[in-house]
Subunit: 283 residues, 4 copies
């Protein structure tokens, strides 16, 4: 091997270093509703730049309590899984959008996907965020080409968003979802108390149990998937929702795999979640 060939070979060996996480863009939006700047990550499929407008489906991927918009890439490595699934064709080209709804300083920083006193995130999400990002990132923008998924607090957010806005998503994949909480008093000095209360106020099983026939009929128009580890401390909540869905005759997939409330669990969940969303986009 001559020196030229050798240099080329070394460059190939170095490729994983240079090319990892190549197409994740960090962006932000100024929200009037929240009175704050909200950051978000966007995973773009190959060839995005050359695409024309309005052609991509979109998956909203929601992070958990104490995490931020960057968790799905930095800890969950969604870009590595998405690259692989796109290469084999298990997913079609899509945009994955990961908005911020939290932070580690839970006492002083807002966490949560619901409308709370001082943090109307759900209103922001549906009236400001979706319209803006779907325009900016060439997204089709109809229900069939929009899905939602998330882990823990984001699994709860995915579920409740799909329950309350069934006309907005074609599928919902909830991982290790935080679906209920014993509501208590809010403590103005502790923002975490607000999300605790909000989760309790949006208990997902109760929503299904109390749903009218009309609402149940709407819920049957989405595809649902619940994915929960057998050692997860939220196990009972997620099984309870599955039971409510079965009794209400709303088709729903359930998987219980090995594991607890861990990133390894959510990393591998992406291998099911992303193709699940993609298949509905293509119907």
């Amino acid at each position: 091997m001559n020196m030229k060939k050798r240099v080329l070979f070394i460059l190939i060996l170095l490729m994983p270093v240079f090319f990892s996480q190549a197409r994740v863009v960090t962006d932000s939006i100024q929200s009037k509703v929240l009175g704050a700047t909200v950051k978000y990550n966007v995973w773009l499929p190959w060839g995005f730049e050359r695409s024309t407008e309005g052609q991509y489906p979109v998956l909203y991927l929601l992070h958990g309590f104490t995490d931020t918009y960057s968790a799905w890439v930095e800890k969950g490595r969604v870009d590595e899984i998405a690259d692989e699934l796109l290469q084999t064709g298990e997913i079609s080209p899509m945009i994955i959008i990961m908005p911020n709804a939290g932070g580690p300083d839970t006492r002083n920083v807002w966490n949560g996907y619901f409308d709370m006193d001082g943090w109307a995130y759900e209103t922001f999400f549906f009236t400001e965020f979706i319209p803006a990002v779907e325009k900016k990132y060439h997204i089709v923008g109809d229900r069939q080409h929009r899905a939602v998924s998330g882990l823990s607090m984001g699994g709860g957010g995915s579920t409740v968003y799909s329950q309350r806005h069934p006309d907005m998503f074609s599928s919902c994949y909830a991982m290790s979802a935080w679906l209920n909480s014993e509501s208590g008093e809010v403590d103005p000095a502790n923002k975490a108390s607000y999300v605790m209360k909000a989760v309790g106020d949006h208990a997902a099983s109760a929503f299904v149990q109390n749903a009218s026939d009309e609402v149940k009929a709407q819920l049957r128009t989405l595809r649902w998937f619940i994915d929960i580890g057998d050692d997860d401390f939220l196990f009972d909540q997620d099984i309870e929702l599955y039971g409510a869905m079965r009794r209400a005759r709303i088709p729903c997939e359930l998987r219980v795999r090995n594991g607890g409330h861990t990133w390894e669990y959510w990393h591998t969940a992406l291998r099911t979640s992303l193709p699940f969303a993609s298949r509905e986009f293509n119907k």
Copy 2:
């Protein structure tokens, strides 16, 4: 939920943040052979501290070209996979040792597992490193309870170590292994040229083809596994070794999975590699 319960709940939600990578220890050894300090990571199973001496099997897990001892934890997340497999019983308690044999500045920093002019790593590994770490970390220290695995340059290292020291390991699992190189002249100003030459001088397929009946009989006493992505630029080398093994009637598993020379490939390879080593420990 009262405030006490609520605090507890928040602590549980935060657990993945606090407990990740809990039992990886970074250690180092002063090598006379290399005239250098060599760092290494050690993954310890739960309850290690309470164990008596000499009871654990060991897997040596080798990193690739341009990487260091920390890559298997930081990029490969071996601790997360090992934790999960240990919890389900797919692996028994074992020690995983990840020594340093490289660095990103390949021109000025040594890379490689073989004896080269100025970097006698193989001599170091077998005469200094194994004896020292196996004493320090309560390792059984016999062949049956010792395995080797690695990726890329470390996959080549695993293979060649097992070929040249078949009495030292019960199994060898090579991932995306770099097994050959067209040997060229070494360039004293470029350390990478030494590893290129050394890999060519230790070509793994040629070793099998030229092996005497006695050596072939020794190679049949290990269990071998080759794991290579269908898009890997090293694909042909690995398939060539498998062909040589088949023709020499040395039992060897082969898997070609989807992917290239990527961390996602090696991360998932651990789900096969760790149980493969563990099963031999328990025979």
Copy 3:
């Protein structure tokens, strides 16, 4: 290719036809307890004939309601899975014994693994069957090297046998287990009514809830695994048992995979069940 080579090639192409199910033996035992001949299938690992006595571990694999001893081979193809897992080393050599406890004519033919009026199967199983087959088939014969698994009625049998005889098995893997029934009156003209009542009398969740601390401690000495499809009509029963196990702090794995009460579910369950049993044999 000359004619000789061609004939050889055709023979190789025909191999799957000739060699399938090569090492399943159908045997029978004359039971005094039952007053009947009980048939059973035995899967033997390669090289069994050359083995000395008392060296193999054993897995008892129990069929479901309306099926017979032959179902695990004919419908479940356990021999194909076991061959493959043995070849890769995912299981060690073991004996799999599949006794008869049923038949399709459920009105006139006994079904069931429990002691009932006129069909004392549990007594037969532990006092006659295990001693006889473990002697005949070179089985080690201690607790560590004995496991039990089964599907539906056999999943219930596995669970209840392990609950009532925790000193006899090192692991229990229950697939789609039938674990409870609303006990009713037995109808002497309908043998199915006896098994219905017996299942209700041996309800597995109630056993755990009512267990003394001493019994719970014994149950913790086995490894437990529950495997149930998300569309199975027995889903709630199996989840109820898992909940009882968690609350009693008896370690237990749970998996909910896709599917209902089908042979495809049980066929793939063997890929987890057989290695699960084998790992305990090797500890």
Copy 4:
């Protein structure tokens, strides 16, 4: 439980017996080209009867040497896998057609998918069979909604059909494919000699190597998948084709899984093959 409930429960337990292989139809066609009646099996998705004409995509699934049209159902249990994948949405509704091209008496009964003296199967397949069945079974009938797959001799048939008719299929999935044979003299008294020669005359690697740039461009319009066991006696042939495809820059997936030339291998291959075909139908 009263008697009515009890009977219902027993009926549910019996369901797998009654409902297995519910929607496989055996049909036949009178071929002028072959001068023979050719049987075939058809797997129909739920709700087929209510469908209007011309709406289903189709997968042609080809059996191996010495087998017949019934092998994919009886030995490969394609209906069980297809039911499961359809239920989860991993495949969309499609028709699977399994034509006869062989028999166990290989000396006196024709085997093979190619045109041979006295058995012009390829002509039959494209001029008689496809037009007739696609009309009869409500199939769309264009290239995008037509795929081909098969095992062993049928894996070779799939590959060669796709090479020679790239305008007819959107994807080709070859399992354990028989792709070459040292051509010898045909023996009129032994029909097997004709298929041996025909396979050699249609060697798949040579086709790729000798392909013009124009033909290579056509081959790039299909999606290709090669799936071969590491212990398969046809391993080298399949790897050789993959190498030829890579060098010709025709995108092709390769998987090497554990196993030999067995039904367990092909049964599990369907979990990849059917979704692979389905995804192209939906693009």
